[in-house]
């Protein structure tokens, strides 16, 4: 059975008489709005805001700190109410300029900087991948699982780390292969995944945006190898091979943050989006029923995370995560 969250039909919060259509919101995404992953989710969340509230949302590709800074500044100067930075790379640049524009709220997805009008939203996708890791750890026939990352950034590493920790928690001796792609490139991901499969891995996770298509292709071409979808619905991409997806709903993040700001309740602190508050979820493929013991274990892990019994290290706790992982060896 699937559990996924969709934003409830919300009404625009009223604020000081201003018309919704006057409210301008900016979103800075690091990559292509069509990357089938991280950036695209940011762009789509923007569209949702536009549809749901009638705000004017501008989405701009801003990859480097220099562009992020000047673009955010321009938006703030032009009276944008909120400037979202989609990714932790916006954190430091926003911190430099936010004090000059106190009327604008700056929100980053990921990142560490907190100011009066700047706070990060943290999508705890790692909670979901932990659950996937439990399934992989129990089901692997070769005691060998693998993952690829689209780059060595916390947004990527925390998810794969969660996956590894989940797997080790049920199968401490299994072997984990990991590889960082030089770019989120589907061909490179395909080859890397193939390499991992040929080296014995039978459960694969790839968190690499566009690259994931390559992993799916590699899994689809191999026998007795399974994979998971990361941040999206991937069941159709390798039919019969994708056991489950983790869904991290950025829409909820954008929605919550926007609502809080427009209602004047926003606080300058990290806003966590977790399983507990319904922003992160795991969706299992009904075509591939899990063995009963596995189903029981993953459900248990899910509940334990929700209740706080299991604490999956988030992006600010990666050093601790590394130690924890090392402790299994």
């Amino acid at each position: 059975g699937g559990t996924s969250t969709t934003p409830e039909g919300s009404t625009p919060p009223a604020e000081g008489g201003s018309e919704a259509s006057d409210v301008k919101i900016g979103i800075l995404i690091p990559g292509s709005p069509t990357d089938g992953g991280f950036s695209q989710q940011g762009a789509e969340a923007g569209k949702k805001l536009e549809e749901n509230y009638g705000y004017e949302v501008a989405t701009v590709e801003a990859g480097t700190a220099d562009v992020i800074k000047s673009e955010a500044e321009t938006m703030a100067a032009e009276g944008y109410k909120i400037v979202f930075g989609h990714g932790g790379q916006c954190s430091a640049p926003f911190a430099e300029i936010c004090e000059d524009y106190p009327d604008t709220w700056f929100v980053t997805f990921g990142g560490t900087e907190i100011r009066d009008n700047l706070f990060p939203v943290c999508m705890c996708a790692e909670e979901g991948t932990y659950v996937l890791g439990v399934a992989a750890g129990m089901m692997t026939q070769t005691d060998n699982i693998a993952f690829t990352l689209g780059g060595d950034y916390p947004a990527y590493t925390k998810t794969t780390m969660g996956f590894a920790l989940g797997a080790k928690s049920v199968n401490p001796d299994l072997k984990i292969q990991e590889a960082v792609l030089s770019s989120p490139d589907s061909n490179e991901c395909y080859e890397t995944t193939m390499n991992q499969i040929k080296s014995g891995a039978d459960f694969i996770l790839s968190n690499s945006n566009e690259g994931q298509a390559g992993a799916m292709k590699a899994v689809g071409e191999s026998e007795n190898v399974y994979t998971f979808g990361c941040l999206g619905n991937f069941f159709d991409m390798a039919p019969g091979k994708v056991l489950g997806n983790i869904i991290g709903d950025y829409n909820v993040g954008y929605d919550e943050a926007t609502k809080a700001i427009m209602e004047g309740t926003a606080e300058a602190e990290i806003m966590y989006l977790t399983i507990a508050n319904g922003c992160v979820s795991v969706e299992w493929n009904s075509d591939i029923p899990l063995p009963e013991d596995v189903q029981a274990a993953v459900d248990q892990a899910y509940e334990d995370i929700k209740s706080g019994k299991i604490d999956v290290p988030n992006e600010y706790e990666q050093d601790a995560a590394k130690e924890q992982l090392a402790s299994y060896n």
């Binding site: 701009v60 801003a62 480097t64 700190a65 321009t74 932790g88 430099e96 990142g111 560490t112």
Partner: protein
């Protein structure tokens, strides 16, 4: 004087006409893609000249292109085709950052100077190996500099994740440089740092070096005809390597200004492909350092304009790439039509010949 002025005009009007045609092409394309082209151009204009702040922004965006553009231009003059300005820029950023986070006790001015010097040195060092491979083993610098760009990128990736990593940040980035090393903003309410100004000075210095000194004479002689230069007693290898070093140093300096003036810390994507765009910048200026000032402004204008078009109209920022490509093709074709005329018109008896060295 009058002659010089007409010469200057002559060298400017062709690129202008070419840019004009490129604008028309872009307008047609925008319309074809279904965007409101007029609005797009208005927002392009507003994003650059709308107010002082955005203008400062444009100058800042032009700054790295100015340095890397001069770097490529001087290389082209000396027939070392430096596609490695990208890597040299990145290495300049790296060295400047290292200085900025290491010598934190230094007074600001000294630290800034040291950062720029370190950037120049690192850029030169990164250009040295391709230069050496070209002169000693005649390995095409086109290949090696591209490879060195990738290597530099990975090197920075390594540094910001390991030895230089700022542990307080989740993202892989270096520590922020000492605050006194931040370059001052020149105009209040803008983030205009002195980089562009120094870039203009660098352009003038390199212009003088190229056209008013014996060293420049040698660089150009080697660039035009290295065999004749060799028999004229010029040490071709040394001249080429010097050209490469100067080129690398300029690109590295650009990196230092980017760190000290704008970014203040090092991270993987610090160069927005400046080294590659620089090739177009240099070509548009016909490899004249002074002309690079103008062409880098044009590309800075396109860069800030492209995000504005995306913000206001939703035109993909990649559209700027198309416009740049079109401009380059038009300018290149226009420039050649000029050179051709000069070559094939031999002296008419009784008339003053018009053959002059192409300086612009």
């Amino acid at each position: 004087m009058k002659e010089k002025l007409t010469g200057l005009l002559q060298s400017i009007w062709k690129p202008l006409v070419a840019v004009f045609f490129a604008v028309i092409c872009s307008w047609l394309l925008l319309t074809a893609f279904g965007y409101p082209a007029n609005e797009a151009f208005v927002s392009l204009w507003d994003a650059t000249f709308g107010n002082l702040r955005v203008f400062g922004n444009t100058l800042n965006k032009a700054c790295p292109l100015l340095f890397t553009g001069i770097a490529v231009a001087i290389g082209n003059r000396g027939s070392v085709f430096n596609i490695g300005a990208e890597g040299q820029f990145i290495m300049g950023c790296t060295a400047a950052t290292w200085v900025g986070i290491t010598f934190t006790y230094m007074p600001g001015i000294l630290l800034m100077i040291l950062m720029v010097l370190a950037g120049a040195l690192a850029g030169a060092a990164w250009a040295f190996i391709p230069g050496l491979l070209k002169t000693k083993f005649s390995i095409s610098e086109i290949i090696t500099t591209i490879m060195f760009n990738y290597i530099a990128l990975q090197l920075v990736g390594y540094l910001v994740r390991n030895p230089m990593r700022d542990l307080s940040q989740a993202e892989p980035q270096s520590y922020t440089i000492a605050e006194q090393g931040f370059m001052p903003y020149l105009i209040a309410k803008t983030k205009l740092h002195p980089g562009f100004l120094f870039g203009c000075i660098a352009a003038v210095v390199i212009f003088i070096l190229l056209f008013k000194t014996y060293f420049g004479y040698e660089v150009r002689a080697v660039g035009y005809n290295s065999t004749a230069a060799k028999y004229g007693g010029i040490n071709v290898s040394r001249t080429m390597i010097s050209t490469m070093l100067i080129s690398g140093a300029l690109a590295g300096m650009g990196g230092a200004f980017e760190v000290a003036g704008s970014a203040h810390y090092l991270y993987e994507k610090i160069s927005n492909g400046y080294g590659y765009t620089a090739i177009a910048v240099a070509i548009l200026a016909n490899n004249n350092p002074i002309g690079v000032i103008l062409s880098s402004l044009l590309f800075g204008f396109l860069a800030s304009g492209s995000t504005a078009m995306q913000r206001n109209i939703g035109v993909s920022s990649s559209f700027a790439d198309i416009v740049q490509g079109i401009i380059i093709i038009f300018v290149a074709v226009a420039a050649v039509s000029r050179v051709k005329k000069k070559r094939t018109a031999p002296a008419r008896p009784g008339k003053k010949p018009v053959l002059k060295e192409a300086k612009q």
